[in-house]
């Protein structure tokens, strides 16, 4: 009737994003058990609070029945303005204590309250503002795994909206988002570029085409990107690249632009640490190596450790 673990859990941690909900039973920053559902905040089983409660109960209701006193923490879009309850952004510089103190509670509907982590805001005059929500917890997990990075490091989280976060003295002091992944996706799926691609939005892992995009980015001047994006079409029309390689060129081009810009601020800022899905991190790491800036470490799935870190800082568990 119930699932049981040989070690009693100390925390239920939820990584609740736009497209999925992942749950982790934890003890001492280790994962005892994990579950996942497709009930991200844009795919709930019912509208509003009822949908959140139902998604929660369906995925982890039996765990709550078994351990009704278990503290529950959550991070990600569940705390956005469109989420279960908004946890307003914490301003940079922000560390795990700031995140914990500005988390907000919501009634799970099953007894325990869920503590939802805030996002982080970078907002200074004469710069574009920036926001993150979810990545700050992944970063907290990385800092828990390697406290040496707390003093100074650059955390790179590639993805739909890639983040480059500068860490100093355990705090996120500034960060920059790049629309790289979404730009790739909308161009392949909704622009003229996709017409020449055999299977839109899926790079074929053609290393030469990827390198061509990367090298094009590396030698570009300000403003050149939209011409170089158009090059995806002309390289295909002129037969310089075969259709299956066009997405690789575009991927190399967009990643290359992100790296050129990101490295301009991160080059002398301590270790470069990448957090994300291994295949994507490998793509970025290959690109960084070509730009003579090897990655110092690559981590995956650091959100559970980050949520443990948050629960510790909030006094819900003992480290």
């Amino acid at each position: 009737m119930t699932t049981s673990s040989p070690i009693a859990p100390a925390l239920l941690a939820l990584d609740w994003g736009t497209s999925s909900l992942r749950a982790f039973l934890m003890q001492d920053s280790r994962i005892l058990d994990t579950r996942q559902s497709a009930h991200g905040i844009q795919h709930l089983p019912a509208p509003g609070v009822a949908g959140y409660r139902q998604a929660f109960a369906e995925l982890v209701g039996d765990w709550i029945d078994q351990w009704p006193q278990l503290p529950v923490v959550a991070s990600g879009m569940v705390g956005s303005a469109q989420g279960w309850r908004e946890a307003p952004y914490v301003r940079c510089p922000a560390d795990i204590a700031d995140l914990a103190s500005q988390s907000v509670g919501v009634d799970s509907g099953m007894g325990p309250e869920i503590l939802i982590a805030p996002g982080v805001l970078f907002d200074q005059a004469n710069a574009l503002p920036d926001v993150m929500r979810g990545e700050e917890i992944q970063i907290a997990g990385a800092l828990l795994a390697n406290p040496g990075w707390r003093q100074r490091a650059c955390m790179l989280l590639p993805g739909t909206h890639s983040k480059w976060a500068q860490i100093e003295d355990g705090k996120i002091v500034r960060f920059t988002s790049y629309l790289t992944g979404e730009l790739f996706s909308v161009l392949c799926r909704h622009s003229i570029l996709g017409r020449l691609m055999p299977d839109a939005a899926v790079p074929a892992d053609d290393p030469e085409a990827f390198a061509l995009g990367l090298d094009t980015a590396a030698r570009s001047g300000p403003g050149d990107l939209s011409h170089q994006i158009f090059g995806t079409r002309t390289l295909g029309l002129t037969g310089r690249l075969p259709p299956p390689a066009l997405a690789d060129y575009l991927s190399g081009l967009l990643i290359g632009h992100e790296l050129v810009s990101g490295l301009a601020t991160a080059a002398s800022t301590g270790p470069l640490v990448m957090i994300g899905a291994p295949a994507l991190c490998r793509r970025y790491a290959d690109a960084l190596a070509r730009l003579q800036r090897p990655v110092d470490a690559m981590l995956d799935n650091t959100a559970p450790a980050g949520l443990w870190h948050l629960a510790t800082a909030a006094g819900l568990v003992r480290s």
Copy 2:
């Protein structure tokens, strides 16, 4: 039964693009009469050759009945690989004589042959290749209107795929395309940015937001664009810009990037001449003025004169 003009026409000129077909009865580079239909090559009344013939007959059949000996010329996507008949690209440097000599004929189905203009290809080692189709005829029209530009000029044709073409000795010697207009459209309509916009893809003509985007572009380093695009979202989230102004910021940003890159090659290359729809040209001209590079001339609807120029060079009419 028939429409009649006080002056007998010497040429029927067709500007046949993706989304529309425009026809001009001409005499001595002047337009005597004009008609338009929505039968662009992607919106034909029937598939294949039959669709082209039907679109032609519906729009100008009575003109052909009245003047069966009238020469007919066409430019635009009608000559693409997806068009009525492909007129392969002419390589740079290319002048009107090159375009005329490499035009291809197609049976209109009503008697006269239609001479279809080729596009132009820029293809050199160590640079991205580039293509245009239709713009070369607009440029030919501008050069007919002002022969002084033949020696040296930069022609800027803003739009979905903006073109910057360098003219030397009457030839298009090189050109660069920017995906500016399409990038704006797909980002507003298909990315997360559109969610904060009240009416996607329609700038509200907020001069301050447009200037903010432009200034952001002007002070950017290589690779910064996708971060600055994400700024459309964060400027909205933080309330720095109201929702109706977000499209203006994005428009200024993307146009600014195009201008920064385009001016880097065009700054010392003679007059800067803009060809295009007045509202869009005005937007670009405002941006150029802010970047201290005023436009020397703005022209609209130069395709008919360019087609006359082509017909002259092909020996179909006497100039």
